[in-house]
């Protein structure tokens, strides 16, 4: 079947509001570039307000049509829109974002002017001048808040989406941005209470733990918090609610994927091949981190005789390959091309652990409502994790997959009300629906 014949001219592309929103956002990006070239140094406050103001108003304008429209699924024209359909705009954004990550990680001095625009905010929050990471954190949080607002507008018919989006916005702003900044201001370790080992792998490395414990009572509490979250909260919460409690309610990476990444969720690869690659990759990363952590502890217990300074070396290499290249450049930069959850799906060790619990020991499932599936494919298309949801639904099977982050969009886009995310008794969750007439 030729697909070309069905390629359709963009239907009534963009309302005036959305065009205005896009224009304002483009201005914000332009201002950021101008600031980066040095002007930001001389006029930090002006450019700070200009950039933030333009981004926020751009996002607002962009969301207005969603707020005004009747509540319901708003996916018209997604497959023709060059923004969401790997078209020219998508590639432009991908190159821009990837470029930003590359400069941020390896050539931050080109961002000097832009970094300086964040000085006033940084001084206020942290009593410390801004650096590239503060700039990144500020932009990241801004993206989550602005695009979170858009998400809420788009899915305003669903309280599940509204509540969990407010949740990710809250955790990003409070736990991943403001709180660490305040801790710095108070001369405490810059600790992220919403990230745990193995995503924040160093939180269980001997060096970090030593450092935290030596930094005082709060540091001891941080170590305690990290241990409790990794070894108690993670299995217990995942048993009760599935991995979604973290991946689409708390995690900052998830927050960005669910908000900034939402326009691209349909670009994830749904093929069986992609699933195979995913399983190999994500579990390899997990095994690697577990082994390294164990080795580092062995090493520290033997007072450094095994590895010498390998721990520093590890952090550098893992940080470079996984932390930077994978989670940043590919994971976020490629949103418009590969979908919003590339990192979560192929690289995140936390997702891997949560996934194992979810698959083998959890009450969570997406229930398929009897024989009601019409195989239309909306659920699979809009699954950001690339799960072929329909393959289960059309067989009357519940969807129980390690990778499912429980975003709930499959259930929302289902035109026949076939899917429901829920936590029920663990027993029987794998039993498919069989018609009464066919039961033996």
């Amino acid at each position: 079947m030729k697909d070309i014949s069905l390629s359709i001219a963009s239907p009534s592309a963009g309302s005036p509001f959305q065009k205005a929103g896009a224009a304002l956002t483009a201005c914000a990006i332009l201002c950021s570039i101008i600031a980066a070239f040095g002007v930001g140094k001389t006029n930090p406050l002006l450019f700070f307000f200009l950039i933030i103001g333009l981004f926020i108003s751009g996002g607002l304008f962009y969301s207005i049509p969603y707020f005004k429209a009747q509540a319901g699924i708003k996916n018209d024209g997604i497959m023709q829109n060059p923004l969401s359909n790997r078209g020219a705009i998508a590639w432009g954004i991908a190159i821009l974002m990837t470029g930003f990550y590359i400069i941020l990680y390896w050539f931050p001095y080109y961002l000097e002017g832009l970094i300086r625009t964040m000085d006033p905010l940084s001084m206020m929050l942290r009593s410390k001048a801004s650096d590239q990471w503060f700039l990144y954190g500020a932009f990241y949080t801004l993206a989550v808040l602005i695009m979170g607002m858009r998400f809420i507008a788009k899915y305003k018919f669903s309280r599940y989406h509204i509540i969990r989006t407010i949740s990710v916005m809250f955790f990003q702003m409070g736990f991943a941005f403001l709180l660490p900044a305040f801790l710095l201001k108070l001369n405490q370790p810059e600790f992220y209470f919403s990230y745990f080992w193995p995503l924040k792998y160093s939180y269980l490395f001997p060096n970090d733990i030593d450092y935290l414990i030596q930094s005082g009572n709060l540091g001891v509490f941080m170590v305690f918090w990290g241990l409790v979250m990794t070894f108690i909260a993670t299995p217990v919460l995942t048993y009760k609610y599935g991995k979604r409690w973290y991946c689409s309610w708390v995690c900052g990476c998830g927050a960005l994927a669910e908000t900034l990444g939402d326009p691209y969720r349909q670009n994830s690869d749904k093929s069986l091949k992609a699933w195979k690659i995913e399983r190999w990759m994500v579990h390899s990363v997990l095994v690697f981190i577990v082994l390294t952590t164990a080795l580092l502890w062995l090493n520290s217990w033997k007072s450094g005789t095994i590895l010498g300074d390998a721990s520093g070396l590890f952090s550098q290499w893992y940080g470079f390959l996984i932390g930077s290249v994978f989670s940043g450049v590919i994971g976020t930069g490629f949103y418009p091309i590969m979908g919003s959850r590339v990192w979560c799906r192929f690289g995140c060790p936390m997702a891997a652990i949560l996934g194992l619990f979810q698959r083998f020991k959890s009450k969570f499932r997406i229930t398929t409502n009897g024989g009601q599936c019409i195989s239309c494919g909306n659920c699979s298309t809009y699954c950001e994790m690339g799960i072929d949801v329909r393959a289960y639904a059309q067989k009357g099977e519940n969807i129980i997959r390690a990778s499912c982050v429980g975003c709930g969009v499959c259930s929302s886009v289902c035109p026949r009300g076939v899917l429901k995310l829920e936590n029920l008794e663990e027993e029987g969750r794998f039993i498919p629906y069989i018609r009464h007439e066919d039961r033996k």
Binding site: N75, G377, E437
Partner: protein, 431 residues
């Protein structure tokens, strides 16, 4: 065993898959003219609206057919010699079979309206129809749809997504009133109006008017109204697509006639899905079932019979579902547009006009007969169990929470429904 199936729709595909599951040796050949691979007809609207591309509507990846040794042929069957067990493709190629399954689906109804063959006038059933609709609706300023059924409202939604104003002509008193009771039909009608769709009730198509280039320019209605439009959608139902079987040993009426085993009048030739017509339909069941679900169930049943476990088709407790713009609809059991004298009906509607509930029950033993859920999702297993076990209406109303299937954190309505029901009993209002 050499099995040939005509039609790669849900019926033919389900049958092929299930035969393969039961019999690893059988040779299975699927002949279909519309597309290389099975796709979901129910998703055609979403391609037009830009929610999905054609490839997204394919429920199986292309390697699936090779892996399962289901041999696919893209061609139309021109003639069938059922007695000699041979069929001929359009290109003249003959294909022999031991057993034949005909699952060739439907095509849109046309009733001989003047102007029904003008450019810009069409039905919607196949991919080719969709491609044509794509061409026919470029740069047009208004459209008229004839027929108030499910495909009609889907077409309206499609056009609406391209901001093309739509008028729907409906023969009945209310939208889809041959299926929906008045209250539900009115609710849906209002919702459509909220989206700017113009509904003309009690109105039939009289004539389609052309411009001087054989293109549609407007329609005249039975009420004497005239609507200008550049597109007319004909959605007054579908009929079995059996033209190619006309001069044949096979007994046909509107569809290919079959018994409860889905056997035709010729041995080793079976028919199922949209194209088949039961000789003796069970009481209260239609002779031709034109649904995704029934096609799937017939395909499953037939696979058993073909593989030696001769099985009667039993569609079980009736269910169906649909979506009207933003409002979902699920129905279980029997809900007639108007109750008969052995039935009672309880109806509840939310003040916002977006959610409704109906339960029909027997007026002798109060046992539940059927449900309509509008803007509410409900568990099929629970609804069916209650109907099968003849639970009383009071029990059902008190236990609605058990079947509630709306997403977590949604506002629930079962308390409102229950209050309304028991208030009605007290006031003696429930009829």
């Amino acid at each position: 065993m050499n099995i040939v199936i005509i039609g790669n729709g849900i019926t033919g595909i389900t049958c092929a898959r299930n035969i393969r599951k039961l019999d690893s040796k059988a040779s299975i050949t699927l002949i279909s003219g519309e597309s290389d691979h099975f796709f979901s007809r129910t998703a055609l609207m979403y391609i037009y609206m830009g929610h999905m591309k054609f490839e997204h509507t394919k429920p199986y990846e292309d390697w699936f057919w090779i892996k399962n040794r289901i041999n696919l042929i893209r061609a139309y069957v021109k003639t069938l010699n059922a007695i000699d067990k041979i069929l001929v493709l359009e290109n003249g190629k003959p294909i022999a079979f031991d057993k034949l399954i005909i699952a060739c689906g439907s095509k849109p109804n046309k009733f001989g309206w003047p102007g029904e063959n003008l450019h810009g006038v069409q039905g919607l059933y196949s991919i080719q129809d969709l491609e044509q609709m794509e061409r026919n609706t470029q740069n047009i300023s208004s459209a008229v749809i004839v027929g108030g059924g499910l495909i009609g409202i889907e077409m309206a939604e499609m056009l609406h997504s391209r901001k093309i104003p739509v008028t729907i002509l409906v023969r009945e008193k209310f939208y889809w009133n041959n299926i929906l009771p008045k209250e539900e039909a009115e609710l849906i009608g209002k919702h459509m109006a909220g989206h700017g769709i113009v509904l003309r009730l009690n109105t039939e198509l009289e004539e389609i008017i052309s411009d001087n280039q054989d293109r549609v320019a407007g329609v005249l209605t039975s009420t004497g109204e005239k609507f200008e439009c550049q597109f007319v959608g004909l959605t007054a139902g579908v009929k079995p697509n059996i033209g190619f079987l006309m001069e044949n040993e096979l007994e046909t009426d509107r569809g290919i006639l079959i018994n409860e085993y889905l056997e035709t009048s010729v041995p080793d030739v079976y028919a199922a899905g949209d194209c088949a017509q039961f000789r003796n339909p069970k009481q209260g069941e239609p002779a031709i079932e034109q649904l995704w679900y029934t096609g799937k169930m017939q395909g499953e049943t037939l696979a058993k019979t073909i593989c030696g476990d001769k099985s009667v088709y039993n569609r079980g407790i009736w269910f169906n579902s649909a979506k009207f713009f933003d409002i979902e609809y699920q129905t279980y059991g029997q809900v007639l547009p108007e109750i008969n004298d052995q039935q009672k009906s309880f109806y509840w509607e939310h003040p916002n006009g977006k959610h409704a509930f109906r339960a029909n029950y027997s007026n002798t033993d109060e046992s539940i007969l059927g449900f309509n859920f509008i803007g509410i999702r409900f568990r099929q297993v629970i609804a069916e169990e209650w109907i099968r076990e003849r639970k009383t209406i009071a029990f059902v109303i008190q236990n609605l929470e058990k079947g509630w299937f709306d997403p977590e954190f949604s506002k629930t309505f079962y308390k409102d429904i229950s209050l309304s029901y028991f208030q009605g009993i007290k006031d003696g209002n429930n009829e």
